[in-house]
């Protein structure tokens, strides 16, 4: 039953474009899925290490720009009459860059920021996203600034026997692509969390002094978590770039980080299914509000949700639901902190 349920859920999600072939619905779900991937990556940091990254949109945006710029190519001056030129690359090469570039920045940020943890980490991550936003706004030669990078090619699929690659334009194709990447992201985080590395992260979160006494290296493991988290967030950003096919500096906006934080906290931080459940609730919200409500409505909805969660489900939905099945929780020694998923 426990092994069967997630696969049945995945099959159900995969059947949505067949059962419900409405392009608008599918595009809403695909964009929700992209943010769920972001939330899954944020959960590794916020949920399992307890470090709040309020600049998570930075990794998302870096992935979007790295992927877009790699596939579009660029030609920029770096002073002294020198230029750096990159010819347009295949889209999957861009996707890879969309993972590697944010992961490198994650490593750098982790090295710098984890000397000071807690509130300082929060502030440093916020600044990181703001700096990137200003940089992309003003480095017009590279990023087109506020005019946005447009004409980003769609991701494509090719296998032997096919004459030409299939570009993934249609809403159902994009939906399936996002679902596949989300499933992989979920599995990767699950592997990490259930490994020796995941236990080290939880140990550091629960009792850093004790964790160090048994030989767990603080910065080392927090940096590993940040790199993996940044890479997955970058993959989400890359999917965003190649499905919306236009990227502007607004991808670094604070509201995107807040969206991911709300998803994780509502669903249940530190649980594998938390970001998925929270993401399915809040993911479609921006699209549903758009057109019918002013932009502030999203902030108000988040604020109200936050208050309700803190008051009624402080640990989030998934732990609350999981506690309704005490029998299972008792039968499973590996419960609570490491994997409180249902």
């Amino acid at each position: 039953m426990r092994y069967f349920l997630p696969w049945a859920f995945l099959a159900l999600l995969a059947a949505v474009p067949i059962l419900l072939p409405d392009p608008y619905t599918l595009s809403v779900l695909a964009s929700a899925g992209i943010f769920i991937i972001g939330a899954i990556s944020l959960n590794l940091l916020l949920g399992y290490t307890g470090q709040l990254s309020l600049g998570h949109a930075a990794f998302f945006g870096l992935g979007a720009y790295a992927s877009a710029l790699t596939t579009l190519g660029f030609d920029i001056g770096i002073g002294f009459g020198q230029r750096i030129t990159l010819a347009p690359q295949p889209v999957w090469f861009g996707f890879l860059a969309g993972i590697v570039v944010p992961a490198l920045f994650g490593w750098l940020l982790g090295r710098l920021a984890f000397r000071v943890r807690g509130a300082y980490f929060v502030i440093i991550t916020i600044c990181f996203a703001q700096v990137l936003r200003l940089l992309t706004l003003n480095w017009v030669e590279l990023t087109q600034g506020p005019m946005a990078l447009s004409g980003i090619p769609a991701l494509s699929l090719w296998w032997p026997g096919l004459d030409a690659p299939i570009a993934l334009f249609r809403k159902d194709q994009i939906y399936w692509l996002v679902l596949a990447v989300a499933a992989v992201a979920f599995l990767l985080v699950r592997q990490v969390v259930r490994s020796r590395i995941g236990r080290a992260l939880v140990a550091l979160r629960e009792n850093e002094t004790l964790a160090r006494s048994v030989g767990i290296r603080v910065t080392h493991y927090l940096v590993i978590a940040t790199v993996i988290s940044a890479g997955i967030a970058g993959a989400a950003g890359s999917l965003f770039a190649h499905s919306v096919r236009i990227v502007d500096p607004d991808v670094f906006l604070f509201i995107y980080t807040v969206t991911m934080v709300i998803m994780v906290v509502t669903g249940g931080k530190g649980t594998l299914w938390g970001p998925v459940v929270g993401g399915l609730l809040f993911g479609p919200l921006p699209d549903l509000l758009r057109g019918s409500a002013p932009p502030e409505a999203q902030w108000i909805a988040y604020g109200v949700a936050m208050i309700l969660i803190v008051m009624f489900l402080p640990r989030g939905i998934v732990p609350a639901v999981a506690s309704l099945w005490p029998r299972r929780a008792a039968a499973k020694p590996a419960a609570v902190a490491v994997e409180a998923e249902g």
Binding site: Q191, I197, S213, V214, I216, A330, A335, V338
Partner: protein, 266 residues
């Protein structure tokens, strides 16, 4: 002659204006149980903090197998084979007893990011081995039947034992125990004494013990080091130390009573 396993050389610790340790030198030979005793505030926990890297010494140095430990962070010192337990019970309260054991077995594993992400066969085998070690560890301290219990709901005595298990998990060569019997009843104290002996005899772990229960200290120790107000005032075999006039005076006239515990006046 090979150097002692641990050598503390002229260590001083000043915290703000306060002298927690004035000048401390002692050795712990391999295979022995050495006790560090003294009234509250004598500097015993501070000595542990210095040896295990939680506090820098103001002066002096600590050598493990002839190599300096000073300057290394606690996690590196643990990797060298020096692990401590904490005076105030320290466990991963939100996790189960079994998870606590697995977390403490960190140094017994090697699996890295790729092993974990790709579930490599080597990582899986290691995971199985670690789980078996966790079971053995819990059996050693008599907590195997509590494996699925969330650690924070354990009884006090069980939490103390879990705390020791966590320190033992990494198979240290030198184990530092900070008041392991504090708050335990006589039968639990006897179990604790037996456990420490077994760790030394069966696992070849050298022990540096801080403990207030004099009966236990006198029974178990090869050497007793007495600390008072940041200074060592006596060191030697239990019998010699017990009769040392300065030691008796340090406990402010406290006299060993029938139960063997030195009762310092409050």
């Amino acid at each position: 002659m090979s150097p002692p396993l641990l050598a503390v050389e002229h260590v001083a610790v000043h915290i703000g204006g306060l002298v927690a340790i004035a000048d401390m030198s002692f050795e712990v030979p391999a295979g022995r149980i050495v006790s560090l005793i003294g009234p509250n505030g004598a500097g015993k926990t501070t000595a542990f903090n210095v040896i295990t890297g939680y506090m820098p010494p103001t002066k002096g140095r600590v050598l493990f197998e002839g190599q300096p430990l000073s300057g290394l962070p606690p996690e590196r010192i643990a990797a060298r084979g020096v692990v401590r337990s904490f005076q105030r019970t320290s466990i991963f309260g939100a996790c189960t007893v079994f998870e606590n054991a697995l977390m403490a077995l960190h140094l017994r594993g090697r699996a890295g990011v790729f092993g974990a992400l790709l579930r490599l066969p080597s990582a899986r085998r290691e995971e199985e081995r670690l789980r078996a070690e966790a079971v053995a560890l819990l059996e050693l301290v008599g907590l195997a039947d509590r494996a699925g219990t969330v650690a924070s709901v354990l009884a006090y005595g069980e939490q103390r034992r879990l705390g020791i298990a966590l320190a033992v998990a990494a198979r240290p060569r030198l184990l530092l125990l900070d008041e392991p019997a504090a708050g335990l009843n006589p039968s639990e104290t006897a179990e604790c004494t037996a456990l420490i002996r077994r760790l030394r005899d069966e696992r070849n772990i050298t022990v540096l013990l801080v403990e207030h229960d004099m009966a236990m200290v006198m029974r178990i120790s090869d050497t007793v080091v007495v600390l008072n107000q940041g200074r060592i005032i006596a060191a030697g075999p239990p019998d010699a130390v017990r009769d040392d006039p300065e030691v008796i005076r340090a406990y402010l006239g406290a006299v060993p009573e029938a139960d063997g515990v030195l009762h310092a006046p409050a």
